[in-house]
C-alpha cells in the first residue's frame, strides 16, 4: 500500500514492527540508526517515516530536523510514554504525529493511514481556490501560498489549516482537532495540536506573537480568522 521507512535501533522491535506492518500490506524498509535512515531516504523514497526518538548516535529529533530542512515527508515518532519532553521537542522539530510504544500493528497502521489520508472534507460545493488576505489555499492541489509565494507545509500543518479554514471563525477545541485532523481519540495529547499550530503560524503569520489567521481563544481552542 504505502512505502514506510522504519528507523528503530532495537533489532527485535524493528523486526516485529516490520513484520506486523508488512502483513498489513505496507512496503517496509528498516534502518538501525538515524544515519542509515537518512541514507536510505534517497533510494527508497518512502511515503512515510516511522522514527524512534531514542537512537544511538544521531537522535530521532536530529533526524527529524534534518529531513524538515528540505522535505515535507510525513513523519510519525515512536516514543515511550513518560518521554513527554521528547514528544514536545519532536513535534516542534516537525513530526506530524506520534505513537506510544509498545503499540500493536493495527494502531500503527491506523496512524499511518490517518497521516497519509487525503483531505477530502469540506471540498464539496466550494471553490477549489480560496483567498484569505495574503493567503491562497488550493484545496484540490493541496497547496498554500502567501502573497504569491508557495509555502511548504508538513502534512499535519496542511491538514490543520485546511480544517480550520473550511469553517472560518468557528472555534475548534483541541479535542475536536485531535479527533478530526489527527484521528486521535478525544483524550489524546493536546500538545500535538499546540505544537502544530506553532509550526503553522511560523510559516503563514506575519507576526507569530500576534497571529492573524490561526487565532487562539483561551480556554476553548483555535479558529481561523476573522481577518
Amino acid at each position: 500500500m504505502s512505502r514506510v521507512l522504519l528507523v528503530e535501533d532495537d533489532p527485535f522491535v524493528r523486526e516485529g514492527v516490520q513484520l506486523g506492518l508488512r502483513r498489513r500490506g505496507h512496503d517496509v524498509r528498516a534502518a538501525g540508526t538515524g544515519e542509515d535512515g537518512l541514507a536510505a531516504l534517497a533510494g527508497f523514497r518512502p511515503d512515510l517515516l516511522l522514527l524512534d526518538l531514542m537512537l544511538p548516535g544521531m537522535t530521532g529529533v536530529q533526524v527529524c530536523r534534518r529531513i524538515r530542512e528540505h522535505s515535507q515527508l510525513p513523519i510519525i515518532m515512536l516514543t515511550a510514554r513518560g518521554d513527554d519532553f521528547d514528544v514536545v521537542i519532536g513535534l516542534e522539530a516537525g513530526a506530524d504525529d506520534y505513537i506510544v510504544k509498545p503499540a500493536r500493528p493495527e494502531v500503527i497502521d491506523a496512524r499511518i493511514r490517518a497521516v497519509l489520508r487525503r483531505m477530502d472534507d469540506g471540498s464539496t460545493g466550494r471553490p477549489a481556490i480560496e483567498v484569505y488576505g495574503d493567503l491562497t489555499i488550493d484545496r484540490i492541489g493541496l497547496t498554500v501560498s502567501k502573497a504569491g509565494r508557495p509555502l511548504t507545509l508538513a502534512p499535519s500543518e496542511l491538514r490543520l489549516l485546511l480544517h480550520l479554514s473550511a469553517a472560518p471563525e468557528q472555534v475548534f477545541s483541541r479535542q475536536q482537532l485531535l479527533e478530526n485532523v489527527w484521528e486521535h481519540t478525544f483524550h489524546a495529547d493536546g500538545r500535538l495540536v499546540d505544537a502544530c499550530v506553532a509550526r503553522l503560524r511560523g510559516k503563514i503569520e506575519d507576526e507569530v506573537g500576534d497571529p492573524r489567521y490561526v487565532q487562539t481563544l483561551r480556554g476553548f481552542g483555535y479558529r481561523f480568522g476573522p481577518l
Binding site: 532495537d10 527485535f12 493495527e106 478525544f186 489524546a188 493536546g190 476553548f220
Partner: protein
C-alpha cells in the same frame, strides 16, 4: 532506556504538605509576647530579686543611717545635759525662788538644739518654759529617773512632732566616794524637728536610690531573658523546620551551658534522624528505581512481541489445535503483560513525582461520553449515565479518561449491572465549587475489611479471584491521577447494596458552568 524524572508541572511536595497541614492542624499562632511566657517570668523574677535586694538594702541602709543620726543627736543631748547639770549647784532643800533662772540658763546650753528644762523636787515644779510641767514626759521616764535613778531618755511623738525627753536625777557627794540623791530630777525636752527633716531626706534618698536601681536592673533582666530566649527561639525554629521536613537543620552551639547541651543533643538527634531517614529514602528510591528499571527493560521486548501478536492470531487458525491454543495464549498474555508494564511505569512515574498534568479546559460530559464510546460502552445497556451539559473544567483529558475508564471498568468487572455514572457540581464545605463524578454499581458492594485497602497496589478484594483482567494497579493509578488534579476519591457502599466511587475535583470559579 532509563527515563530521568524531568522537571514537569511543579508539584511541590513541601508546599502541598504545608498547605495540607494548614487547616487540619490546629493553627497555634502564638503572640510574640505571652502573658506568662518565659520572658515575662524571667523579667518578673529579675525585677523581684532586684526589688528585694534594692528594697532591703535601702531599708537597712536607711535604718542604720537613721539610727546613727538619732543616736548621735541623742547621745550628744544626753551627755551635754549631764555636763550642764553637773555644773549647777543646789542648796537642799531646793527653793522655788531663783530656780527658773538656773533652768533658763540650762535651757540655753542645749545641744544640738536648745531645749526646755523642767525641774521636779518635792512638790516644786519649775521649768525654763511657760508650763512648769511637761506634757511630753512619760511616767516611765519619770519612774526611771526617780525610782531607778538612771539618766535616761525617751523619744516621744506627740501630735506628729518627735521629742527627745531626757530624765536626769541628781546626786551630791557626801564624801569622796559616796553620793546621795538630792531628790531633784531635771528633765530636758528637745524637739527633734531637724532630725525628722534629715530622716525624711534619708527616706526619700533611699527610695530614690531604689527606684533607679530597679530601672537599671531591667537592662540585665532583658539581656538575661534574651540570652535564654534566643536559644529557646532557635530551638523552636529548628524543631519546626525539622517538622516541615528540613532534616539538615542544625542549631549553632554557643558556650557550655545547659542550653548549649540541649542544642548539642538536638543536633545529635537531628543528625541521627537525618541519617535514618536518608537511609530509608535511599532504600525506597532504590526499590522504586528498580521497579522503574524493570518495567523499562520489559518494555522494549514487549514492543517487539506486541508487534507480532497479530501475526500469531491470524495464522493460528492454520495451525494444529494445540499449537493454535498455545499461540493464542501467548498472544493474549502478551497483551496483558503490555498493560501491566504500562501501568507499572505509570505508577513509577507517580512515585518519582515525574507525572505531569497536561490540563486543558474541556467539556466534562463530552469527555466522559468519549471515554465510554472509545471503550465501546456507549451503547451498553448495563451503563446508565446522567451527564448534564455545559460543565467545563480544567483537566488532563488523558488522565481523566483513565480515571473514568478504570472506575467504570472496575464496576463492570466486580460489581453488578446497572452501572451508573453521575456528573454534577456542588459547593464544598469550604465554599469552592467541586466537580463530582459518582460511579456506582448494584453488585454485592465492597467488603468492609477491604475498604481501607481498596486503592492499594495489587490489592484483591476477593481472594478467590486471583486473576482479573486488570493489572491490579487500576485503582491505585486512579487515585494518583485524581490527586494530581488536587482532587479526592473515596469508596463506599450504597445503602441498598452496591459499591460507589466518588471523585471530587475542585473547580476554580472562572472555570465553572458558563
Amino acid at each position: 532506556m532509563i527515563t530521568v524524572p524531568r522537571p514537569g508541572r511543579p508539584r511541590d511536595e513541601e508546599n502541598e504538605r504545608a498547605d495540607g497541614a494548614g487547616p487540619a492542624a490546629p493553627t497555634r499562632r502564638r503572640s510574640r509576647v505571652r502573658a506568662f511566657g518565659l520572658r515575662t517570668r524571667l523579667l518578673a523574677a529579675f525585677l523581684l530579686v532586684a526589688a528585694v535586694s534594692a528594697g532591703t538594702t535601702s531599708a537597712l541602709t536607711y535604718r542604720e543611717a537613721r539610727n546613727a543620726l538619732l543616736k548621735t543627736a541623742q547621745d550628744m543631748a544626753v551627755s551635754t545635759f549631764r555636763d550642764q547639770v553637773e555644773r549647777t549647784g543646789w542648796r537642799l532643800p531646793v527653793e522655788e525662788e531663783g530656780i527658773e533662772e538656773i533652768l533658763r540658763d540650762l535651757a540655753r546650753t542645749g545641744k544640738p538644739r536648745p531645749w526646755v528644762v523642767f525641774a521636779e523636787y518635792g512638790s516644786i515644779r519649775a521649768s525654763s518654759g511657760e508650763n512648769p510641767v511637761s506634757s511630753v514626759i512619760t511616767p516611765e521616764l519619770r519612774r526611771a529617773a526617780t525610782a531607778d535613778r538612771y539618766g535616761s531618755f525617751e523619744r516621744v511623738v506627740k501630735d506628729g512632732v518627735p521629742y527627745l525627753t531626757i530624765g536626769m536625777p541628781t546626786v551630791f557627794k557626801t564624801g569622796p566616794d559616796s553620793t546621795l540623791p538630792t531628790g531633784l530630777v531635771l528633765y530636758a525636752v528637745m524637739r527633734m524637728t531637724d532630725e525628722q527633716i534629715n530622716v525624711d531626706a534619708l527616706l526619700v534618698a533611699a527610695r530614690n536610690g531604689a527606684l533607679p536601681g530597679l530601672a537599671v536592673a531591667l537592662v540585665p533582666a532583658l539581656l538575661a531573658a534574651r540570652s535564654v530566649l534566643r536559644p529557646v527561639r532557635e530551638l523552636r525554629r529548628a524543631a519546626r523546620s525539622m517538622g516541615s521536613g528540613r532534616l539538615d537543620t542544625r542549631i549553632p552551639v554557643r558556650g557550655r551551658d545547659e542550653l548549649a547541651d540541649l542544642a548539642d543533643t538536638f543536633n545529635e538527634s537531628a543528625g541521627q534522624l537525618e541519617r535514618s531517614v536518608g537511609e530509608l529514602r535511599d532504600a525506597e528510591a532504590r526499590a522504586r528505581r528498580f521497579a522503574s528499571d524493570v518495567s523499562h527493560e520489559l518494555r522494549t521486548p514487549l514492543a517487539g512481541m506486541l508487534a507480532v501478536t497479530e501475526v500469531l492470531d491470524e495464522d493460528a487458525d492454520r495451525l494444529d489445535p494445540d499449537t493454535a491454543q498455545a499461540v493464542r495464549l501467548v498472544s493474549a498474555e502478551t497483551g496483558k503483560l503490555a498493560v501491566l508494564v504500562e501501568d507499572l511505569m505509570e505508577i513509577s512515574r507517580f512515585d518519582a513525582r515525574a507525572a505531569e498534568l497536561n490540563a486543558d479546559e474541556i467539556d466534562v460530559a463530552e469527555a466522559i461520553r468519549k471515554t465510554l464510546q472509545v471503550r465501546h460502552w456507549a451503547g451498553d445497556d448495563r451503563i446508565r449515565t446522567e451527564l448534564p451539559p455545559d460543565i467545563r473544567a480544567r483537566l488532563d483529558p488523558r488522565r481523566f479518561d483513565v480515571v473514568i475508564a478504570n472506575l467504570v471498568g472496575n464496576a463492570l468487572r466486580h460489581g453488578g449491572a446497572p452501572v451508573t455514572v453521575l456528573l454534577r457540581t456542588e459547593a464544598s464545605s469550604s465554599g469552592t465549587l467541586v466537580l463530582v463524578v459518582e460511579v456506582a454499581d448494584r453488585g454485592p458492594g465492597i467488603p468492609a475489611a477491604a475498604l481501607p485497602h481498596i486503592f492499594d497496589r495489587f490489592y484483591k478484594a476477593d481472594a478467590a479471584r486471583t486473576r482479573s483482567p486488570g493489572s491490579g494497579l487500576g485503582l491505585a493509578i486512579t487515585l494518583e491521577n485524581v490527586n494530581l488534579h488536587d482532587g479526592t476519591i473515596r469508596a463506599g457502599n450504597l445503602p441498598g447494596g452496591g459499591a460507589v466511587f466518588t471523585v471530587e475535583i475542585p473547580l476554580r470559579a472562572e472555570e465553572a458552568v458558563r
